[in-house]
Symmetry: D4
Subunit: 172 residues, 8 copies
Amino acid sequence: MSKKLVDIIMGSDSDLAVMQDSALALEKFDVGYELTISSAHRHPSKTSEIAQNAAVQGKKVIIAGAGGAAHLPGVIASMTSLPVIGVPIFTSSVGGVDSLYSIVQMPRGMPVATVAINGAFNAGLLAVQILALHDDNLFQKYRNYRIELAEGVESKDRKLKEKGFRRYLEEN
Amino acid sequence: MSKKLVDIIMGSDSDLAVMQDSALALEKFDVGYELTISSAHRHPSKTSEIAQNAAVQGKKVIIAGAGGAAHLPGVIASMTSLPVIGVPIFTSSVGGVDSLYSIVQMPRGMPVATVAINGAFNAGLLAVQILALHDDNLFQKYRNYRIELAEGVESKDRKLKEKGFRRYLEEN
Amino acid sequence: MSKKLVDIIMGSDSDLAVMQDSALALEKFDVGYELTISSAHRHPSKTSEIAQNAAVQGKKVIIAGAGGAAHLPGVIASMTSLPVIGVPIFTSSVGGVDSLYSIVQMPRGMPVATVAINGAFNAGLLAVQILALHDDNLFQKYRNYRIELAEGVESKDRKLKEKGFRRYLEEN
Amino acid sequence: MSKKLVDIIMGSDSDLAVMQDSALALEKFDVGYELTISSAHRHPSKTSEIAQNAAVQGKKVIIAGAGGAAHLPGVIASMTSLPVIGVPIFTSSVGGVDSLYSIVQMPRGMPVATVAINGAFNAGLLAVQILALHDDNLFQKYRNYRIELAEGVESKDRKLKEKGFRRYLEEN
Amino acid sequence: MSKKLVDIIMGSDSDLAVMQDSALALEKFDVGYELTISSAHRHPSKTSEIAQNAAVQGKKVIIAGAGGAAHLPGVIASMTSLPVIGVPIFTSSVGGVDSLYSIVQMPRGMPVATVAINGAFNAGLLAVQILALHDDNLFQKYRNYRIELAEGVESKDRKLKEKGFRRYLEEN
Amino acid sequence: MSKKLVDIIMGSDSDLAVMQDSALALEKFDVGYELTISSAHRHPSKTSEIAQNAAVQGKKVIIAGAGGAAHLPGVIASMTSLPVIGVPIFTSSVGGVDSLYSIVQMPRGMPVATVAINGAFNAGLLAVQILALHDDNLFQKYRNYRIELAEGVESKDRKLKEKGFRRYLEEN
Amino acid sequence: MSKKLVDIIMGSDSDLAVMQDSALALEKFDVGYELTISSAHRHPSKTSEIAQNAAVQGKKVIIAGAGGAAHLPGVIASMTSLPVIGVPIFTSSVGGVDSLYSIVQMPRGMPVATVAINGAFNAGLLAVQILALHDDNLFQKYRNYRIELAEGVESKDRKLKEKGFRRYLEEN
Amino acid sequence: MSKKLVDIIMGSDSDLAVMQDSALALEKFDVGYELTISSAHRHPSKTSEIAQNAAVQGKKVIIAGAGGAAHLPGVIASMTSLPVIGVPIFTSSVGGVDSLYSIVQMPRGMPVATVAINGAFNAGLLAVQILALHDDNLFQKYRNYRIELAEGVESKDRKLKEKGFRRYLEEN
């Protein structure tokens, strides 16, 4: 894998099943990353070390996922000048609205780029878009990905029209 | 004022109008406190210094108020073993539900004792209740306060019954 | 078990699966407790007896859990000067937001220290933090617990880095 | 005024501006009532006395209004066998949804007849409907009231049709 | 069964599993009832017939349950002078908050006595409380029921204290 | 004015300030309408008469606005085969979410075409779109309206670019 | 099948299980339709082509279903003068409230006729109601459908009354 | 002003009072921008032109603000490979939660970097952080800005400690 440009951090290994999607998105574009478990609350010193070292180590973007009182993305944002992307993790009590509010409602002066609840894949894509601003090769790859998305829609629509919705639903 | 046993911390001076109620509650019981502006996001090192020094300085309880992605109470809780009381500040967008979720929904291992939205006065009372567990004088004062609360209800009810609701509403 | 310093009260045995976490947290720190079923609504006299006797019996903190129109913590708070910790229980209809509001939105003069929805373990920890203010041994144990939390994060992160996320997810 | 059949109770005189509507509704039907300030939290013994004495004193229905962690109606319901009508009071933070949940989400075994947020007038009407079940005169009055409501709609509609909406809005 | 004093109406047979609880509550007190499926939307004329005939047939209370845009209780209330109790049915999309708002937020002049989401049992109890106002025998039965509730709490608490929470949870 | 093709109905004259927008939208396209106050709850017979006569009188679309437990659109829909457009009116307690749920969450078999909270103007436009399906002249007018909307955007953008945002804000 | 008068569009084949209900509703009335997968985000050009061609191809109504940031109905509405019916799809995080807001809260000038969360069947019925305004045969069919709905209620009620609720629940 | 690297787009001039904050943030760092009014719904062709031309014109980041069914950011994101930052605008009905959901809950494949409700200033800062990844001078400026934020906190705290909270509140 190429140089590690993205930190992916989550507060607990229970978030890994969701947060792996960020890694998968980055792998799709051959963007190197480092995956770390560190908790804003249970291990503040480790979290602050990661945040403060990221730029020095050559990281360009940090993706942080957390649920509930999801402080991790904001805490990291407060200790780095790199752009931080926050992933609100679904919670069984209020469906992730707690996580969303805790991540997106950051005060003036300290943004976190928030994606959808459990939107870790999109967090990876957003990192790619940012990195692609100065990497023409990556920019081209991203455009191709978007074309593939459109073709995927086209092909499903064709299949639906051939089979009709009854057979389509049976077979899928 | 007596020894400073309580830290009252807020993220911004815009929270002072609410957070002064914690100070007023403590003054009512002659409990010493220190009032500080420090932001979890805009000044993480100051915040961490306060949290880490509180116990050493003889503080017993920390009250922290914040609004929106209200990380301050949780961030402080992660850096001290003292009990932390969190005050969710009202926000014009979602009425403080964002602040409430960001403060109360803390992960296993790291509690924040949360009071009502804008409930800074109650945060002060809760600190008093905690301190009173080993201060008989304070415990007695708190019981008296509770008796006064009941008498206040009694006296308003008497007034209502004397005047009737029409006059009561006109005169109040 | 040592002296019973904490009352753990729940409105119904259907809350026991959640509320046992408070007991488990206290046992971890060898803090004695008494576990009681009593309903604010179905058995108000028993509830008021418990609340009014707690201080006399040497209890220092009361933990109360309830769901829906979760009056139990507030009702107890109205009849004791001890600090009361409230645990909002998850409800299938609105996910425990009803319980949370009913517990946290207490009026001026009558705080309940509220923890997360189903956060009974944290309620136990908060009781420990309060008791530890005048028990150096307990304070030290609590600090050690916090170090263990950090080590747990460290060890999971090491494992993740050794195995990579794919194997980690398969094996866990 | 005739015999006092209805208790109207509120937790604080700040609720009086809303709760007077219950009194006004009852006065409209010449139903006697007693208006009381008593707080479930600040004065539990007074509240319990009122609840326990209501039936003995010949009260038939209790109307209780409260805001936030609005325990008053439920606490009263737990100490009387009379039907209790709950009025959730508007709150500036979450608009009275906290009050509504705290009143309506009562556990199995202990109903509170809940009306709309700030719906104190309807609480009075509901009390009238209940009392009218065994008072033919009152039942007839209530039917007449309903006819008046319909006539009020009729007359406003006529006025709207005569004037057109532009003049109607200017003049009202 | 004795004279039918209560109408229990639901909009669809899919609500029957919840609404049977109203019937069970009434049976417990030997109060006669009539159980009907009628939809405010799919069969407005039947619904209006039921509402308009209820008083004539000697019904005293109407219980109506509905989910989603739950108009049934309000529509019935608009066509009778009898007290109407509304049961908001749980919905998979928003957990019954839609049903609750549609039932409880009735306009001035037209109350519906609303109980908890899926609170059909309590709806039955509320009907009993209303009927008991002029039926001493029923009033006594209701008081006994309340004593049984308290005894149920007592007995569960005794069992918990005998067995400890671990065995209690295993055996229940 | 031309033939009355649209019924605009509201439950109360307090909704007129919002609902006049439906009239204004229809006037813009020279579509005739009839404006009526009728309440689903306070005057069910008038409401049902309007609903049942609409088609006979040559009405093609019914617009109904209501707030809170906003039953009017659904009740009308249950008594006509014409398409019914519902306008949820803003409420001070929950901002119109109650009205929205009460209107949009209609059961299978009985749709109400719901527009935004206070979206009475759009309700009028939707009626125009429906009527325009068989009125080429009206269809052309509607397309022109859409072009005007785009030109309005264009002209504001030009103005913004000429003046810069500081002057634009001062002057507007 | 007869002439295709209705476009049914969904953003993803994962919405097909819900959106087939629109097709089933239209088939019930022998109304021709075209079912298409096209995404506002992943394939904007296809979406815009469909929207712009719909009127030319003789389509009269467009039904569009989407979940989450459910832009599809609004995006289509912005590119056609035909009436657009929006179906908010249930989401696991916030139950479809996100979809509902994204579809119903359209700005002035651009309505989307919104139905209930997952209300695709009703979307089909609404299309039928609109088409029936100029098709007497279809209007008659729709009236008959409504009569069948009422008869369905009648027959279930009869069955309930014959069997009693216990047997009814066992057998269904 | 230097080269225009950022597009700031809003759907209506009513959003300008909020969205000017993005411009002010960029001006603070001497980052060139272009401010445009264009509506996803009222002028889709202009919107699509802007989105498709942005990269060609040398823009690096697009900031888009919208309220209600806030489609603008997502629609733009679907037509460019540049990173898009979305600003949910406050709405009087649901406080901007509609805008937030419509912007943040984007489907897999199409991220929008969402900031707080009315968080246009932070949107500007996030753009700066992204641009600073390849502009050392800008990166240094951003770090300095962060130091200033901390100093601002420090200075307010000093002032608070000098004056005490009573005088601080009077003078501010």
